[in-house]
């Protein structure tokens, strides 16, 4: 039979009379948890920002027609050389078009798939930007801009003009920021482009596009799909890429495989395309957790130390409690209660401190050329970090309290009272 009221009352009295130790121990936990929350929120915020920089520009599944040599050369079909060792020199890519065969039916099929959040057609064309007598090599991507804006965050990267402006303009172009600077062009100007075949077209700049990645901004521009088809002199079913966004990113790999087989096209998933990227963010997460756990363990040792000291000071009290009929378990509970009260108070305060610090960091200005949409340091306010934080506070105080309180449980009152 455990009399919680009595035990809690004794624990409370101990804590209140040793206010200094209590505050020190609680602050240890507060510091550990607060630092953990701040660190993990900030680090994952940064990670997510960096990830999204790349990942949002990468579709979950990218379908295109790869120009590559045939797996089987014609000689392999020739029965007379079946058992021979054939050497083919100077293998050339298979003769095929850049466009996806049956592109529009595939697109329609994908749009009906319930796992697919959206699919957009693209037409990538090699072009030259003409500036007087200078020719700058680059890409023009024909897109369904409104669908693109819905599925990716391209809208964030249009620094001048809007996606709607492009849609409304029959011969508009969203010029890359690097290109605009090189050619001293601004919104509303005209830019001449030339196809590989040599046809020249004037396009009106309806907006400027800045992804933050210089390699893209220096060569790539966007225009409406139909505009690019017209420039290239191709039919309306001519598309070179299909970008697919899924509801669940984890299905990307399997779905890419089956799509590739089904339609005889190249389909790569985001995981393949960004394998090295994943590794980077995993390691950053690992470092975050290593540092956080270290902080929490240090806090745990603080609690252990202070409780140990407290129990040493309270040796006589423990002996009296046992002499007047408190059992070892009661005594242990008294000290465990103290540890848990320290843990709960320190932990909750730590969550608040962590939240306030995160908020502070969130409001610090952080402006960089590379990231047009970011104005302050990124913070990830995931409720799970707070749940993990408080759980760890409780677990570590429990462990830190268990060892000394277990010692208190086994103290022999006779030895204390007789002074041996």
């Amino acid at each position: 039979m455990i009399n919680w009221k009595v035990i809690l009352n004794i624990a409370k009295t101990h804590l209140l009379t040793k206010m200094k130790s209590t505050v020190t121990a609680s602050l240890g936990v507060t510091f550990g948890i607060g630092a953990y929350i701040t660190l993990v929120s900030f680090m994952t915020g940064l990670n997510e920002m960096l990830d999204s920089l790349i990942l949002n520009q990468t579709p979950h599944i990218h379908i295109y027609n790869e120009i590559e040599p045939s797996d089987e050369q014609p000689i392999a079909l020739y029965q007379e050389f079946e058992d021979a060792f054939n050497v083919v020199n100077s293998v050339k890519p298979k003769q095929s078009q850049k466009k996806i065969h049956n592109g529009l039916p595939i697109l329609n099929y994908l749009k009906k798939d319930e796992k697919v959040y959206g699919a957009t057609p693209q037409l990538r064309a090699q072009i030259f930007y003409l500036s007087g007598s200078i020719e700058l090599g680059g890409n023009l991507v024909g897109v369904d801009i409104m669908e693109e804006a819905r599925l990716s965050n391209i809208g964030d990267y249009i620094v001048e003009g809007t996606a709607q402006d492009l849609k409304n303009s029959d011969n508009g172009i969203l010029l890359g920021d690097g290109l605009a600077q090189k050619m001293s062009l601004k919104k509303g100007d005209r830019v001449q482009i030339s196809t590989i075949k040599g046809d020249v077209f004037p396009l009106k700049i309806v907006g400027i596009y800045q992804s933050g990645i210089a390699e893209i901004d220096n060569i790539q521009s966007y225009a409406n799909l139909k505009t690019v088809q017209r420039i290239l002199g191709e039919a309306q079913n001519y598309i070179t890429d299909i970008n697919v966004k899924l509801y669940d990113i984890n299905e990307a790999t399997t779905m890419a495989k089956s799509l590739g087989k089904q339609f005889q096209v190249k389909a790569t998933s985001i995981n393949e395309a960004n394998a090295q990227f994943e590794t980077g963010s995993n390691i950053r997460n690992l470092i975050t957790y290593a540092v956080s756990i270290t902080l929490l363990i240090v806090a745990g040792f603080g609690i252990y130390n202070i409780l140990n000291m407290l129990i040493y000071e309270k040796m006589k009290d423990i002996a009296i409690l046992k002499a007047i009929g408190f059992s070892g378990n009661d005594v242990q509970l008294i000290f465990m209660c103290q540890a848990m009260i320290i843990g709960v108070l320190g932990g909750i305060l730590g969550l608040i401190v962590g939240f306030v610090l995160s908020k502070l960091i969130d409001n610090v200005a952080f402006e960089t050329e590379a990231l047009p949409t970011i104005t302050t340091y990124p913070i990830d306010y995931d409720i799970w970090y707070y749940v993990i934080g408080i759980s760890f506070a409780l677990i570590s105080t429990f462990v830190a309290g268990w060892l000394p309180s277990n010692k208190a449980k086994h103290i022999d009152p006779v030895r204390i009272i007789r002074g041996t």
Partner: protein, 224 residues
């Protein structure tokens, strides 16, 4: 025979620093309402015996009965309960919880027992304090009162659960003669008015002589 406390052939050894036979075949009984004292030189084993009788020391052979019930071999949790309910203990050095008030100190064993409501316990505690003439100290911190007063508070605490027996380990050993006299008369009154059994270890011959029965110990044996 109606013994409150009875032992049969209790033996105890100390292992350190060398193996030592402290208690040799101790058999004794305390009757209800008896005021007994244990006397003996230092090292005769009288305190050791008392702590075995108090159930705090369980490292012995032989049998211990409380109210004709075998105590030996019970689990620690059960022993704590028995101690809480049936045994009041007074030490040489008052041993109060210094952070609590006098009243809280007295109430603590009853709260642990949990048989009465808080209001009843408080009423009982006030009664005990009144009986021992220290009612005015009730709300003082235990660390702020004098030695004689502390010992009376300790007696009040030992009595709060109306135990079967009150044990004392030199309860007057640390007090001046006036306070010693005071404590003795309290014990005497408890025996006469409440029919309480008492077993007191003491060095004080005057104190012992005025008790009902003196148990003399020497070299771990009881002398008759």
């Amino acid at each position: 025979m109606d013994f409150v406390l009875e032992t049969k052939n209790i033996n105890k050894y100390f292992d350190q620093p060398v193996k030592f036979h402290v208690l040799k075949d101790i058999s004794l009984g305390i009757r209800k309402g008896e005021f007994a004292s244990i006397m003996g030189k230092s090292g005769s084993g009288k305190s050791t015996l008392l702590y075995i009788l108090s159930t705090m020391d369980t490292d012995y052979t032989g049998e211990l009965f409380l109210n004709n019930e075998l105590i030996t071999g019970q689990k620690h949790g059960k022993l704590s309960q028995i101690r809480n309910k049936n045994i009041g203990f007074v030490f040489q050095f008052h041993y109060l919880l210094s952070e609590f008030s006098v009243l809280e100190n007295v109430m603590l064993p009853a709260k642990k027992l949990g048989e009465k409501s808080l209001a009843e316990i408080e009423h009982d505690a006030m009664e005990k304090l009144r009986m021992l003439d220290i009612l005015k100290l009730a709300h003082q911190r235990a660390s702020r009162i004098s030695g004689g007063e502390k010992q009376r508070v300790a007696i009040a605490r030992a009595l709060i659960n109306n135990p079967a027996i009150l044990m004392g380990d030199e309860p007057t050993g640390n007090l001046d003669s006036h306070n010693s006299e005071n404590v003795f008369s309290i014990f005497k009154r408890l025996k006469e008015e409440e029919d309480l059994s008492l077993l007191i270890v003491t060095h004080d011959e005057d104190f012992a002589k005025r008790t009902d029965r003196i148990i003399q110990m020497e070299d771990g044996r009881i002398l008759d």
